[in-house]
């Protein structure tokens, strides 16, 4: 079992990138387990968000909030005529957007919205 798990290390960690039958079986099993876990999380998440207007509305609201926060930081950066404060504010805005985008991508995947 331990050797199976060791051999199931991600493709990008193998030197040749080639997989044998055992690797593929372990990967398929892990994918199936992960898929079921995501399905279950999605079902629970969608049910839990019904009182707040449903999963899609909640995710959209989160996205709107992230964009508003990003835009506010960018507007402040534009208004500040001093470096490096402007650069720091602009970088913070980009970080906010990218972290938010990563959250949103994952949440949309799990909730399928």
């Amino acid at each position: 079992m331990s050797s199976s798990l060791r051999s199931a290390r991600p493709v990008w960690l193998t030197s040749s990138g080639e997989l044998n039958k055992e690797d593929l079986e372990v990967m398929a099993f892990m994918e199936e387990v992960l898929e079921r876990a995501i399905d279950a999380a999605g079902t629970v998440g969608r049910a839990a968000l019904i009182p707040w207007g449903g999963a899609e509305a909640c995710v959209d609201a989160y996205e709107t909030a992230i964009r508003a926060l990003t835009d506010a930081q960018l507007n402040i950066a534009r208004a500040v005529d001093a470096e490096p404060v402007r650069a720091v504010l602009a970088s913070c805005a980009e970080m906010t957007r990218d972290i938010g985008a990563t959250h949103l991508s994952s949440v949309r995947w799990i909730l399928d919205v």
Binding site: G17, R86, A90, D98, A101, W109
Partner: protein, 271 residues
């Protein structure tokens, strides 16, 4: 034919985005895929610039664009593209995105809908749980590719990038592509950041919000982004037209030169 080029300096003071503009007429923004510079559009620019103002650009860390941090999300790449339109004082534009560029094009259409006159999504996918993913051998290759010497990587990519007919009959065109590609130094960090952006991309459910007239183009022999994705995308975008190229692989602009003309006609119909 008029042409120009320039650099957009973004607010962070470190990001500089290089763009080129060729021709006159309605503007069209071309967005290229993974690890490639705007120069990789050379065939399409030649085909479209007789009737349109064709704008290409290099993503962060690619070609002549520079940045301290790379773009790790398609949202960031979309905002970079729109910053170029802002700098050029262009309100609305036809957008043609290819592969990763197609994902960026989706984000532009969703994040900046008033800026998009029409949309062409070439050899791309919408992400999310419903996307059809490439085989594990293809994924393994593209991860391995980042560590290969540029020329070896370019030639090793040929079986994945081009369909069998093209590999047999269009060796000269493939060699031209590779020669152009090697003209730009390869940036491994920017490439990995773009790979992450493609992995995180997820617009599937929101495609139905796209209001711009949309054309989806895909090679039936595409190994990198399976053609099933084109069907999914065309089903989700309201009123989208689907064009499947029977013998083409991923890099269909090289394999099917006539497609650029059809895309030009699509833009003209939605001027």
């Amino acid at each position: 034919m008029s042409s120009g080029s320039g650099i957009v300096n973004r607010l962070d003071g470190r990001t500089r985005l290089y763009w080129e503009s060729t021709g006159a007429g309605d503007p069209v923004l071309l967005i290229h895929g993974l690890g490639l510079s705007g120069g990789a559009w050379w065939r399409t620019v030649d085909a479209l610039a007789d009737a349109l103002r064709v704008i290409t650009f290099d993503h962060r860390g690619i070609g002549r664009s520079d940045s301290l941090s790379y773009a790790y999300t398609t949202e960031a790449m979309a905002d970079d593209a729109v910053s170029i339109l802002d700098d050029l004082a262009i309100d609305r534009v036809h957008v043609y995105g290819f592969s990763l560029g197609g994902m960026v094009a989706q984000q532009i259409a969703l994040r900046h809908p008033t800026r998009v006159q029409s949309l062409v999504l070439g050899a791309t996918h919408s992400g999310g749980r419903h996307a059809a993913f490439p085989g594990s051998d293809v994924v393994a290759f593209f991860r391995r590719r980042a560590t290969m010497p540029s020329e070896e990587a370019a030639w090793a990519s040929v079986p994945y990038n081009y369909g069998p007919r093209s590999r047999a009959e269009q060796v000269d065109r493939i060699a031209e592509d590779i020669e152009r590609r090697l003209a730009n130094p390869f940036n491994e960090r920017a490439y990995r950041a773009q790979l992450l952006a493609a992995s995180l991309h997820n617009c599937y459910r929101r495609l139905e919000r796209i209001r711009a007239p949309t054309l989806v183009v895909h090679g039936a022999r595409d190994l990198i982004i399976p053609v099933a994705n084109a069907h999914l995308t065309a089903e989700r975008v309201p009123g989208a037209r689907l064009e499947i190229l029977a013998d083409a692989g991923h890099l269909y602009p090289t394999e099917e030169p006539a497609v650029d003309e059809a895309i030009g006609e699509f833009f003209a119909a939605h001027a």
